[in-house]
């Protein structure tokens, strides 16, 4: 037990918790300042609202968690290999477009296969979208943050254009509905979580979480990825092809985000690609999910659910006249505190320093 308390992982977990608490408190303060009379009710609604809705609420939370778990995995996997994938909005939306296009036009595919192929399409296209920043980083030393941001905007404009040209519903100014054979099956989840739109997508997300966990921790590939992330020069010294790994890491990250896009727009729940010049928020929300989850797949799963929970709660707050954007503000406070986590860890670490001193003097007597 002592080992767990002393470990690096535990202090990181604590600093995540601290970040969450500070974020929530910050949100509470803003609510108190702007609408004092209803503040407590509103805040409570945020915290327990989804639970009050019972199975419907849980179903909704899980449903909205799916895309940000995917983008969270995307960002987290990239982090582990030393890259900051801020290109998730772009990868997400191009993946979504691929899924919708296949969903609308490839009706020659049998019902059980159609939605699977559409998702695979989203996966592949998302991965391809990340190839450019990956190659540029590996071979031209271009900072992947800037290049990914550029790809976000190119993706957004391109998808808007392509939707208008190929799958446009001009009456409602959005993408056409996909064929019913392309909708992700519910697998009975709508009976358990009545009133929600939960579907098999949650299982796919869970499978991806497990897959990424296994890849990172049990495979040779994962060993090399993490080595590159920790120390690219030492990885090179060891004979690891760090250029190949950078590209591969970006591609996988992009594919995960793209798949997220596919899962959302094939849910058959009334979500269509609209022609707006706004970057997909599910993309950016992957960042706090990854940060809170410490880039660990299991952690990401839970932090995705947590942030989704806040989002659902935030929407419920509207009943009290609160503006749902408060959730984004809370999330941004959480990101900010995560950035400060290093300092918190150092502070926690100074309490451990006495133990380190003992080891040092022991070794010094060699």
């Amino acid at each position: 037990m002592k080992k767990i308390l002393k470990s690096e992982g535990f202090s990181s977990f604590i600093s995540s918790c601290i970040a969450i608490v500070i974020g929530l408190v910050f949100g509470l303060i803003i609510i108190l300042l702007t609408n004092p009379s209803q503040a407590l009710d509103g805040f409570l609604n945020l915290i327990v609202g989804p639970l009050k809705l019972g199975m419907t609420g849980i179903g909704r939370v899980l449903f909205y968690a799916v895309p940000i778990i995917m983008t969270g995995l995307s960002v987290g996997f990239a982090f582990k290999t030393g890259l900051f994938n801020i290109g998730t909005p772009g990868q997400f939306i191009v993946g979504a477009f691929a899924a919708v296009y296949i969903g609308v036009y490839w009706t020659f595919l049998p019902s059980g296969l159609h939605w699977i192929v559409a998702l695979i399409g989203a996966f592949i296209v998302g991965g391809l979208w990340a190839v450019v920043p990956g190659l540029m980083k590996a071979y031209l030393n271009v900072n992947e943050v800037i290049s990914s941001i550029m790809m976000n905007y190119i993706g957004m404009y391109l998808v808007n254009y392509l939707v208008k040209e190929t799958v446009f519903d001009s009456l409602r100014s959005q993408s056409l509905p996909v064929a019913s054979s392309a909708v992700i099956p519910k697998l009975g989840l709508d009976k358990i979580f009545t009133g929600s739109t939960l579907n098999a997508g949650i299982f796919i997300a869970i499978i991806m979480v497990i897959l990424i966990y296994v890849i990172l921790n049990k495979t040779k590939f994962g060993y090399e990825m993490k080595a590159c992330g920790f120390n690219a020069e030492a990885a090179k010294y060891a004979g690891i092809n760090e250029k190949k790994n950078i590209v591969l890491a970006m591609v996988i990250a992009g594919a995960l985000a793209g798949l997220g896009g596919g899962l959302v727009y094939l849910a058959g729940s009334g979500k269509f690609i609209s022609i707006v010049e706004v970057l997909a928020p599910e993309g950016f929300n992957g960042i706090p999910v990854a940060l809170l989850g410490l880039s660990n797949p299991i952690g990401i799963f839970f932090s995705g659910i947590f942030i989704s929970y806040l989002t659902v709660g935030g929407n419920l707050m509207q009943q009290f006249g609160f503006i749902p954007e408060i959730v984004d503000i809370i999330v941004s406070a959480i990101i900010y505190c995560s950035a400060l986590s290093l300092m918190i860890k150092i502070w926690l670490g100074q309490r451990k320093s006495k133990n380190i001193k003992k080891i040092e003097t022991k070794e010094g007597d060699e």
């Binding site: 540029m136 790809m151 940060l291 954007e325 984004d328 503000i329 941004s332 990101i335």
Partner: protein, 317 residues
């Protein structure tokens, strides 16, 4: 010919905010702190500047009112950037994450503030600031219509900021010390310079300029501020890199990108381009693709300040 002048005038409208925000990035990075929160800071500056005009649009004569709005935009931008400065400098946080936090906060806050305080997230204002024709200067053939007609006071403000920046960075004690902090903070520290203070200065100046840039972007381009600056903050980063962290090169980079943006926005009105039959999406994405191409060529031998992005740690020798 009128069309040509119009394009030039529009280019200024797009280039000057890019110039100012890129210079904002320059001050921060030259001191050693990466600031990708330019987008968010622009939003905050624009929000408060436009809100002021929305409420007090007729308080003072137009140009004077504009100056007040600019001061507010710059000031709020500076305050907002304090968050990034604190995280990056004092708390030695990951500067990209801290910047992302600010970028996530700003649009949400704009909507929140708009709805809460002004009742709407689309904040309108009256554009009384356009200067049709500057006396005397506007009548010079060719140059007149290019620079001194159909313009805004903010354009000249931008040029003044450019020159001040150059002098500040290369010709003053402040600039020498700032650059030392960005290249080798240990050298500055052992020369008795407070690296913390210089970096705070760099980031706060960056906040001031980015806040200004946000308002300067919105004023000529629309009469409504709708919680977005369309990625200008990020484009400004590209301008900074293209301009190799040097003020005048940044100016030319800003002109280039501004020109591209102008073409993208006005391609329908230009018969020559209209006839080419290129869909407008191409023009929209050209600035971003151009950035990628530039990055590809420029990143190998980067002239970036060597110590940027690394929190300064006295213990490191």
């Amino acid at each position: 010919m009128d069309l040509f002048y119009f394009v030039i005038q529009q280019t200024w409208t797009f280039s000057i905010p890019l110039l100012i925000v890129a210079l904002a990035g320059l001050f921060s990075e030259r001191s050693g702190v990466i600031n990708i929160a330019l987008e968010g800071i622009m939003l905050i500056g624009a929000l408060f500047g436009v809100s002021y005009l929305h409420v007090f649009g007729n308080l003072l004569p137009p140009q004077l009112n504009l100056i007040v709005a600019l001061l507010i935009a710059g000031g709020t931008g500076m305050l907002f950037s304090l968050l990034h400065a604190f995280a990056a400098i004092h708390m030695k946080a990951d500067q990209t994450i801290s910047g992302t936090a600010l970028n996530t906060f700003a649009p949400a806050f704009c909507i929140f503030f708009g709805r809460l305080v002004l009742g709407t997230q689309q904040i309108s204002f009256e554009n009384l600031f356009r200067i049709d024709h500057i006396p005397v200067l506007g009548s010079i053939p060719f140059i007149g219509p290019m620079f001194f007609q159909n313009t805004y006071m903010t354009t000249f403000l931008g040029i003044i900021i450019l020159f001040i920046s150059y002098i500040l960075i290369y010709k003053t004690k402040f600039g020498l010390r700032l650059r030392a902090c960005g290249e080798l903070p240990q050298a500055a520290d052992s020369a008795g310079i407070s690296v913390y203070k210089m970096r705070y200065a760099g980031v706060l100046i960056s906040g001031l300029l980015a806040g200004l840039g946000g308002l300067i972007l919105v004023i000529p381009t629309s009469t409504i501020f709708n919680a977005t600056v369309a990625g200008y903050g990020f484009l400004a980063l590209a301008v900074l890199i293209f301009g190799q962290w040097k003020p005048f090169k940044i100016f030319f980079a800003a002109l280039f990108f501004g020109f591209m943006k102008t073409i993208a926005a006005t391609s329908n009105a230009i018969p020559f381009l209209l006839n080419l039959g290129i869909p407008s999406v191409v023009y929209k994405i050209i600035p971003y693709i151009a950035t990628l191409i530039v990055l590809a060529f420029v990143s190998k031998n980067s002239a970036a300040p060597r110590a940027e992005g690394e929190p300064f740690d006295k213990g490191k020798r």
